[in-house]
Symmetry: C2
Subunit: 334 residues, 2 copies
């Protein structure tokens, strides 16, 4: 019986999906449509790691103890306070014959999971080290991916840190690839990891790209690197400042900001009939929907789905073919 969403591993509450479940059972034998992974590292979501570190008073051993406790109790690494997870890196330990892409995967291949740890059944035997700055744990354990679980082979030709950072935000360039067209004026808000990938992809699509960031040097660096055509220094949380700088002239606005309160600035930057693509996880649905209505702005507002078919390959190829991005990511994760 096929179980693409891993429902049989939900312990409670009944009828929940794994992500919404309180407890998963990671100890069931792997099903014919599942992938078993020997886990080497856990990359903890930034919000979750900050909470764990604060609670532990910055003590790595106490962070490790708390992570062991959460995973033992829940069968997954989902921080009960923040609700968030992260991703993992490991080696293929077993491939069910009905797991999609089974033919591409051999035992021992090194992969990263692209679905959240919040829905990934996990057993931890040991935490070997906690890297506080990288928000990463070296561990020994086993995880399970369901048939719908996304994964990517880790490339040999890019540094691991770069590959992980790119995979973490690979939905953004994939959706930009679909939505940006040649000759369009595209504004990318936020010159961080996803913002720089979004700029590069929009340019590749033939758009005229403007990067906006509150750090003037970060936005300008994208222009110097040839990833954007123009830059604006403005605080995206101040809609009137943003509007004064953009004059509401953009066909497509891609919000890659990492702070709350940037919905109105994004909406006011788009032209009538334009689009806003929200990739910031700090976006408020009602602020966007009611904000656009409040100013009578006819714009299409899209929620940035972290998945799009082929997103991992598209983003890795973009970085492979763009030395400026490689340099930026190396500097950022170094």
């Amino acid at each position: 019986m096929s179980d693409p969403y891993g429902l049989r591993r939900v312990v409670r509450p009944a009828g929940a999906l794994p992500q919404q479940a309180e407890v998963l059972d990671p100890r069931l034998p792997p099903g014919p449509d599942e992938l078993l992974v020997d886990v080497e590292h856990l990359n903890i979501d930034a919000a979750s790691f900050r909470q764990l570190a604060n609670q532990a008073g910055g003590d790595a051993a106490r962070v490790a103890a708390r992570v062991m406790e959460i995973v033992r109790e829940r069968g997954k690494m989902q921080n009960p306070i923040t609700g968030s997870g992260g991703m993992l890196i490991g080696r293929v330990a077993g491939v069910g014959p009905e797991f999609p892409g089974a033919s591409e995967l051999r035992r021992g291949a090194r992969i990263a999971t692209l679905v959240s740890l919040t829905l990934t059944p996990l057993v931890l035997d040991e935490i070997r080290a906690v890297h506080m700055r990288a928000e990463r744990l070296d561990v020994r354990g086993r995880a399970v991916l369901f048939a719908t679980g996304l994964w990517a082979l880790l490339p040999d030709d890019l540094p691991l840190e770069t590959a992980l950072a790119v995979l973490d935000v690979c939905g953004a360039p994939a959706w930009v690839a679909r939505l940006a067209s040649s000759g369009q004026r595209v504004l990318v808000i936020g010159a961080g990891k996803s913002g720089s990938l979004a700029c590069a992809q929009a340019r590749r699509n033939g758009a005229h790209v403007t990067a906006l960031d509150y750090r003037a040097d970060a936005a300008a660096a994208l222009v110097e690197a040839g990833l954007a055509d123009a830059s604006i220094a403005a605080d995206a949380t101040k809609p009137l400042d943003v509007y004064a700088a953009t004059r509401g002239a953009f066909d497509l606005v891609v919000n890659c900001a990492s702070v709350p309160g940037t919905e109105m600035g994004s909406i006011l930057s788009a032209r009538e009939g334009g689009e806003v693509l929200f990739f910031s996880m700090a976006t408020s649905f009602t602020a966007a929907a009611l904000g656009a209505e409040g100013v009578g702005k006819d714009v299409r507002l899209t929620i940035g789905n972290g998945y799009a078919r082929g997103h991992a390959r598209l983003a890795l190829d973009l970085v492979r073919e763009t030395p400026a991005l490689q340099k930026m990511f190396a500097a950022r994760v170094g």
Copy 2:
């Protein structure tokens, strides 16, 4: 100096837009690009009215006193607890020569505002009555619309209650008109006001329409009325029930549910490469974005913008030309 967003009326905090402001100044003389309205009724947002009624122990006089207090303090009717507003009905008292559409409006014309009370400068002289069930107040006061403020002439050929109910949700059919195409399989979740308009519009676009509601009779009634082709009785907050019923086969899913927790059911109902249009104000941005990624579903997720050019006329025309909708709305608001 043009001020299409009404910035000069923001008292505090500095740099805020009227919707985000704590306090507006409704007493400034109207500017050349503003519309002055003699207010007759306030339709309070459902969440706000419920909070006011609970706080007042169900006492109409205490609701009235609290509304007077809020409007006196804030210069607008924005419930400080829920953050939400509502809309108003009144007659044109003055049209600035630079107000858009000035030529269409004469003094005394009866209009409804289509922007939220949360950004509408308002002075109340008196509350004459509080209609607890209709969540409406009869008042005497004055309001101001900015150049970007949306309004609609109230039609003579539809009952007032019907027109107001239609205008309240007119963004939904307008966006369905753009996104639904002939031959598509469209699922509408929620058989309420916006859901029934969405069904009717999707059918008009030539789609095959299925209505889903937890009340089997409400969904079936849309089929009997000729507004949908098929119906499903299911609880939209239970993703697995919804998935079992829909099998993820829909090209476009329109979420018009009025309760939280319906994101996953909507996403699982769409086919790979399909779309979900969220018109429920209870939608969580992160639940939608991370939920789709979690199940590896390549779907475009759109935030239902309450505005689209021509939305009021489109929705009123749809009701005018669809006797079944008129009957439904009359029964619902009667």
